[in-house]
């Protein structure tokens, strides 16, 4: 059966080719995929694929994440891509996450938020080739529910893989060097503004296994804060 799919100004003659470019025009692709005409054709051509896509459409969804999954259901061999950006490998994705820090990319957060990365790993059989990585990504998806930013940056460090930390165009090989830089002069003011809210450093420390140091910090700060609040309340009276 001949197939012609028109998306924006491009014409595709196979589902796989169409799927590879979904990331470039997500909204238009979504309109097409959910149309009765497309679904009818898909049902005739690829009934199993039709069932998978129909199941996705029948549950609550977010358009970008849905179309990401559709892309890899149709063509698991297409490069990792999302929101008009291709990531040639996981390391590049990780690097992008941590080089943007302490800012978070809301689209890259979707990889954990909507379980896109683990879905991709399953479609491409990376879950079998590298079960440790797959397990860690699944764990981060759980952690994302408790602390979004920390899980997000941990993903960045996990995928980047070199145990370095980037900040203001500098690269540091360990947390001590980084902190020695961060406490100098005006750096401390800039870094201090987003230190807790971004969770960037905490993600790095947790990734490297400094859990006890994080716990120590949290307990000291928590106690001081608690006493400050009590004191404020007492002095109001």
């Amino acid at each position: 059966m001949e197939l012609t799919i028109k998306l924006k100004d491009k014409t595709y003659y196979s589902l796989k080719d169409f799927a590879s470019d979904i990331y470039l025009n997500t909204e238009e692709a979504f309109t097409l995929v959910k149309s009765a005409k497309f679904l009818k054709i898909l049902y005739k051509m690829e009934p199993i694929l039709y069932n998978s896509i129909a199941e996705l459409l029948s549950s609550p969804f977010q358009v970008d994440s849905l179309m990401f999954k559709v892309q890899y259901l149709i063509n698991p061999l297409s490069s990792l891509s999302y929101h008009k950006v291709i990531y040639p490998n996981f390391q590049k994705l990780g690097e992008k996450i941590i080089k943007m820090a302490p800012e978070c990319d809301i689209y890259l957060k979707d990889f954990l938020k909507y379980h896109l990365l683990s879905f991709y790993m399953k479609q491409t059989k990376i879950d079998v080739k590298d079960p440790t990585l797959y397990r860690k990504v699944k764990q981060l998806e759980e952690e994302f529910l408790q602390n979004e930013n920390r899980a997000y940056f941990k993903l960045g460090f996990l995928l980047e893989g070199t145990k370095r930390i980037f900040y203001q165009r500098n690269v540091f090989n360990n947390p001590q060097d980084f902190l020695a830089y961060a406490i100098q002069g005006v750096n401390i003011i800039d870094f201090g503004k987003t230190f807790e809210s971004s969770q960037y450093l905490f993600a790095y420390l947790e990734y490297l296994g400094y859990d006890s140091q994080i716990k120590k910090y949290e307990s000291i700060v928590h106690l001081a804060r608690q006493k400050e609040v009590e004191n404020d309340n007492l002095r109001k009276v």
Binding site: Q176, A180, I188, I189, E196, I220, L234
Partner: protein, 350 residues
Amino acid sequence: MRNEDKVLLMASIMGVETSLYIPAYIEDLRNSQIYLLLAKKIQSLRKNKDFRSVDLVIRFEQLNLENISTFEDYFNSYSEILDILNNALEDKEINPLLNESDDPLGKVKILFDGKLTTLDDMILDERYTDEYKISTFKEVYLNYHKEVKKSLMRPFVEFLMMEEVIDKNIEEKSKMTLLLLATILANAIIISLPLFPVDTFRMIYDGTLPSQPVLIYFYIIVGLLFILDAIMIFFFNVKCKDFRFFLRAYNGLKRNGNLEKKILKKEERFYGLILSHINEKKILTMKVKKVSIVNLEIKNLFYLVSIKEKLPYLTQKWTISYAFFSFNLIFYLALGGFIITILLFLGGHI
């Protein structure tokens, strides 16, 4: 806590060198409103004899801001300062279990039916059933119990950790004693030189040695030695006094067994006493201090904790310095004396 404070704290925890910033932080803390307010509060609490006040004063005195070397220590001290201040600011009704007042127990106020009422008034109030009074008092009693536990928890923990401190001090005290005895023995040898079958020694001691300079020189050494010994013995006793009191108090507490159980028993007796007076509608005429858990043992406990920091490790340093000094002094003086004696002998003066 400001953002910069948190960054420095994290850096300190991670082992980054931050000690340069500490002096400025300590200075700011000393000049801060909370510290100044606390110092003022402590001044007025010193006049009170109740347990809570005494405990707060001790905690304040144990703050050692000069020894802070890390940001962990700094913020722990900061939280401690706030906690002491918060406790000092809280308006609390007295806890009879922690108070040694001579006032009648019946005059102690509690919160009953939304307002402050004395125990006697509660007992005699006919508008309420005994069950209601008992259930209200149970809540009050549980708060008393919690406060007792909170007041004593820290001293108890410090008491349990004291064994190591005691052992170390006993060991040091034994070494000090040996050194003292060795010094005294050295003195004794010099003093007993006349018993040696050497004519020169005998002549030195009975003053018949022809050489005056040697005689005078010898008397100076002996005199100095006695003075040094006297100073040594005096300071040894003075310095060890604290440690002796400490050891007596500590051993007393250890010998008397499970203090926690005793306190609990006394609390239960107090509870039973109030319940029985509620049931019999009798007022409480006994003094507060009769039901108080504050006794000699508790006072010893707080005493131990308050002087623990002052335990005389110094004595050991001081004693060893003295011992080395005096042995060296004797040796060099003796050597000097010996050389002079030889020179005089060779010069034909003796």
